[in-house]
Structure formats: structure tokens, C-alpha cells
């Protein structure tokens, strides 16, 4: 369970990234965060694995306040929260398997990982993860030989290999075309259901949010302005979140289901 209690974050340059956030995310939920550019979506998500540190309030994960974590504690927290990035963030010169194995870093001793002495189970797990996103045949290809969608699937496999309790995805489909976007979202949703991993995704696109989310959180100027199940969301909700009417480019389109 993730619980934001009156969390605020002010960046060193004075920008207010988050303003008095109070949100509780239950285990197994698939939450989509929407909001205009600069609304604080990334800041929200990155607070959870402490890539940024909120300046006040308390953030509880599994009933422990993580804001005081540092060093070993912090790495342990990050080990149980996997992250997916807009630009995949793979090591382009390394092969797919090695990129996926990097998900085990937090579980592996420094010496072992540096000498490439992964346990057999770890390598097996990495291969299994690749299979789950149907990219196992690219095992020994260099990451930069793959298409964007394939790279994003590798990065999902990396997160799976990490065996996290939470998955954070910051605009995972922003660099992909519509069909590939749906494919990636479908994998995320499937993993969420099958492994019961709490998943929080930042999205720009209203139609995708509606299609995949169990629950939608709307943000504007660092504040949560909407929080509710998908069933309660209408076009008007989005207009309230965005503070303007819905436009063509707020939709990804290309949905393969009706």
C-alpha cells in the first residue's frame, strides 16, 4: 500500500512540484495519472521510489515512511519498486539479456554482479521475463538494434526480473506509435492482473487512460484535482482536470478493441 500524507515538494529552484498531496493506493490497483505537461505527474511518481525527495509530509509504503530512507534502506525500497521510462533507458551497447539482468542488481551482491556471476535462477528469471513480453528471440541482440516498442518491452522485462511489488511507469508510450502503445499498455495491464503488482502509470492520452485504468488521478499545478474509479470519469472530468476542452491530440486513437 502506498499512502501520500500531506506530501509537498519544492524543487531547489523554488518550483512547487507537489502541493499537499493526500492519496492512498491499494495493493493490486492499476492507477493512471493524467494531467497537462508540468502538472507534476513525474514528480508524483518519482517521489515513490525517491528519485526525487518530497520536502514535507510523509509517504508511507507498506506502512513505513520512506522519506527518511537513505543508503541501504533506499536501495531496498527501489528494489521493490520497478520503473519504466519514456525513453526505455536501456544501455544501448549492451545486449538484451544483460539489460534485463540489470533488474537483479538490487538483489545481487556487488562483486557477483561485477564479475557477471549471476545465479542460474536469475538468468532463468530474466529469460522467462523476456518470454512474457514475447521478445526472447532477441536475447543476444544489442539493445540499439531493436525498435522503440521492442526496447520498451525489454525494459518491461527488466522490471519483471526485478520481481517488484510496485511498477511505476512514467509516460511509457509517449515515444511510440498508436498500435505499439496499445501493445505495451496491454502487457502492463496483463502483468498487473497476473502478478497482482500495483501499477501506477503516467499518461497523456485520455482514451488510453480510460481503457486501461482501474482508477484515475488527475493532477494540475502540483495538486490532485480528481481521484476516482474509471466508472465515475466522464469527458467533463477531463475538462476539469485540464482546465480546457478536450482536443484531438489528447487522444492516442488506434484502439484495437471496440
Amino acid at each position: 500500500m502506498i499512502e501520500f500524507k500531506d506530501v509537498s515538494l519544492v524543487y531547489p529552484n523554488g518550483t512547487q512540484g507537489l502541493k499537499n498531496i493526500n492519496v492512498k493506493i491499494n495493493d493490486g490497483e492499476f492507477v493512471v495519472i493524467v494531467g497537462l505537461s508540468g502538472a507534476g505527474k513525474s514528480t508524483f511518481i518519482r517521489s515513490i521510489n525517491r528519485l526525487v525527495t518530497p520536502t514535507s509530509g510523509s509517504l508511507l509504503i507498506d506502512n513505513e515512511d520512506i522519506l527518511s530512507y537513505h543508503g541501504k534502506n533506499l536501495r531496498k525500497l527501489r528494489t521493490k519498486t520497478g520503473m519504466i521510462f519514456q525513453n526505455y533507458n536501456l544501455v544501448k551497447r549492451s545486449n538484451v539479456l544483460k539489460n534485463v539482468l540489470a533488474g537483479r542488481l538490487g538483489h545481487t551482491g556487488t562483486l557477483r554482479s561485477i564479475l557477471n556471476l549471476y545465479k542460474k535462477e536469475d538468468i532463468g528469471l530474466a529469460y522467462e521475463s523476456l518470454k512474457r513480453v514475447n521478445i526472447e528471440e532477441k536475447l543476444y541482440n544489442r539493445a540499439d538494434e531493436l525498435s522503440g516498442g521492442q526496447q520498451q518491452r525489454v525494459s518491461i522485462a527488466r522490471v519483471l526480473t526485478q520481481q517488484p511489488n510496485y511498477i511505476l511507469a512514467d509516460e511509457p508510450v509517449a515515444s511510440l506509435d498508436p498500435p505499439t502503445s496499445h501493445q505495451v499498455m496491454t502487457y502492463l495491464k496483463k502483468i498487473n492482473k497476473e502478478d497482482n503488482i500495483t501499477t501506477i502509470v503516467n499518461l497523456h492520452f485520455i482514451d488510453m487512460a480510460m481503457e486501461y485504468a482501474d482508477r484515475i488521478i488527475g493532477m494540475r499545478a502540483g495538486e490532485v484535482v480528481f481521484d476516482g474509479p474509471v466508472s465515475e470519469v466522464s469527458e467533463q472530468t477531463f475538462e476539469e482536470i485540464y482546465g480546457r476542452s478536450i482536443r484531438e491530440d489528447d487522444l492516442r486513437g488506434g484502439a484495437n478493441k471496440s
Partner: protein, 265 residues
């Protein structure tokens, strides 16, 4: 834990394996050769170091200020050598660079030009200085000539690479205008290359300051002359002064040069 299937082994071609083995063996061989060839008498080195450390280091760190004016003058001469040498090289390098650039002259001429340039570059500056000291006597002008020739090799290479990287479309546009070769040179080629030429020439001056400060070791003038005297006389206080002068002057010139270059490009 569940029973995972392991991924298939990567199939490395035999050829690749052989290549890896051969390279590994070569590298090992090279190092064996190196370590058997070099034998350092550690006992002597350590003994010397223990003896000399007290005698040298404290003196180096307390420079002899009475030598300041002499050192300053020698350092100034070093700057003059570097300046005259770099400028001569910058001018000499231009025609050779055009010769060596494959988009200006024919293919064959450019190969010849490249060969000349790499031949010149293969002579370390100080070897050139040795030759020029024999030719014009042990004085600063031998240093100027050594720097001039040595830098021509490097600048010529840089310049020709710059020329090769220019936008030939503009040249084509001018040709279409009916411009002749000289006009094209001045209107299409020069504007593209001059800032970078200047930038490299100034950078080369930085390098030449360092180079010209040691030429005195073979008699080609500048602060190097004092370095050799100070070391022969074991005058480590004076060596401290010289070292300080080199560090200060080189730092100032590096700094100034970097600023000017940033302005040009």
C-alpha cells in the same frame, strides 16, 4: 523457487572464437616481452630516492626568487619562439592542407599531400630542433624553425580535415553562378574554413608553448636552456622558479586561448 528454463547459449562463430584467442595471445605476448625487456634496479632507485628526496623536494617548493628576472626573460623568449613558430606553421600549413584535402585537388595529389604531412608529424619536435641546431647554430631561431616545421605537420592535417568537411553544395551553387575557381575559393570556401583554421592555429600555439619550453635542452633557446643548467648544477631552487614560470605562463595562455577560440567559433 520455480524451475526456470535457461536461455539458449549464444552461438559464436568459430572464426570469432579464433580471433579472440589470437588477439588475447598477442596481447599476452606483448606484455611478456615488455616485462622481460624492462628491468629496473629497484634497490638503486629506492636508495637514490631516499637520498635525494630531502635534497630535492623542499628546494623545489621554495623557489629562488633572485632568479626571477632571468627566468622571466627566458620564458618570454619561449613565448616568442612558440609565437613565431606557430604563425609560420599556420601560414605554411594552408597550401599543404589544400593539397591534401581530397575535395580540392585530385585524388592522387591529396594522397601525396597526406603522406608529406604524416612524414613531418613523425618527427618529434625535439629531433627537428637537433637538426636545426646543427644547421643554424645553438640559438632560439633553431627553436622557431623546429616549431614551425613540427606544427605544420599537425596543422596541415587538421586544416585538410576542415576543408574536407565543408559544405560542397555552396561551391556547386557558385559554380552554377558562373564563378571562377579563385572566386569560389574566396566566396564559398574561405568563409567556411577561416574561423576553424584560426581556432586550430590558436590551439596549436597552446601546444607549442609547452613544446618550445623544452627545446633549450638541445640548445634551441628559451627556458629549456635554464632547465638543463639548473639540473646539471643541481640547483633545485632555481628549478622551482622555472617550473612555477612554466605552470603560470602555460595556464594563462591556455585560458586566454580557450576564451578567444570560444569567441571565434
Amino acid at each position: 523457487m520455480e524451475n526456470y528454463s535457461l536461455p539458449p547459449k549464444p552461438k559464436n562463430s568459430l572464426w570469432k572464437k579464433i580471433k579472440t584467442i589470437v588477439i588475447t595471445l598477442l596481447v599476452i605476448g606483448l606484455y611478456v616481452w615488455t616485462f622481460t625487456g624492462i628491468d629496473i634496479e629497484w634497490s638503486r632507485v629506492i636508495e637514490r630516492a631516499l637520498n635525494n628526496f630531502q635534497r630535492v623536494i623542499p628546494k623545489l617548493l621554495s623557489p629562488d626568487w633572485s632568479a626571477t628576472s632571468e627566468v622571466a626573460l627566458a620564458m618570454l623568449e619561449t613565448v616568442f619562439i612558440a609565437f613565431a613558430g606557430s604563425l609560420m606553421a599556420a601560414i605554411l600549413a594552408v597550401p599543404i592542407a589544400f593539397l591534401a584535402a581530397n575535395n580540392m585537388m585530385g585524388k592522387y595529389l591529396s594522397v601525396i599531400g597526406k603522406w608529406i604531412l604524416s612524414a613531418v608529424r613523425a618527427f618529434p619536435d625535439i629531433i627537428l630542433a637537433i637538426l636545426f641546431v646543427v644547421a643554424v647554430g645553438p640559438n632560439a631561431f633553431a627553436g622557431v624553425l623546429a616549431i614551425a616545421i613540427g606544427s605544420t605537420g599537425m596543422l596541415g592535417k587538421m586544416f585538410s580535415e576542415i576543408i574536407e568537411s565543408i559544405d560542397m553544395d555552396i561551391v556547386e551553387a557558385m559554380q552554377a553562378n558562373g564563378a571562377n575557381r579563385i572566386q569560389i575559393l574566396f566566396y564559398a570556401v574561405m568563409p567556411q574554413i577561416i574561423p576553424e583554421f584560426l581556432s586550430y592555429a590558436i590551439y596549436r600555439f597552446e601546444v607549442d608553448i609547452r613544446a618550445s619550453s623544452i627545446l633549450g635542452i638541445v640548445g634551441a633557446g628559451g627556458i629549456g636552456t635554464m632547465i638543463i643548467f639548473a639540473s646539471n648544477n643541481r640547483n633545485w631552487n632555481e628549478m622551482g622558479t622555472i617550473l612555477l614560470a612554466i605552470i603560470i605562463v602555460v595556464t594563462i595562455i591556455d585560458f586566454a586561448s580557450a576564451r578567444i577560440r570560444r569567441k571565434i567559433v
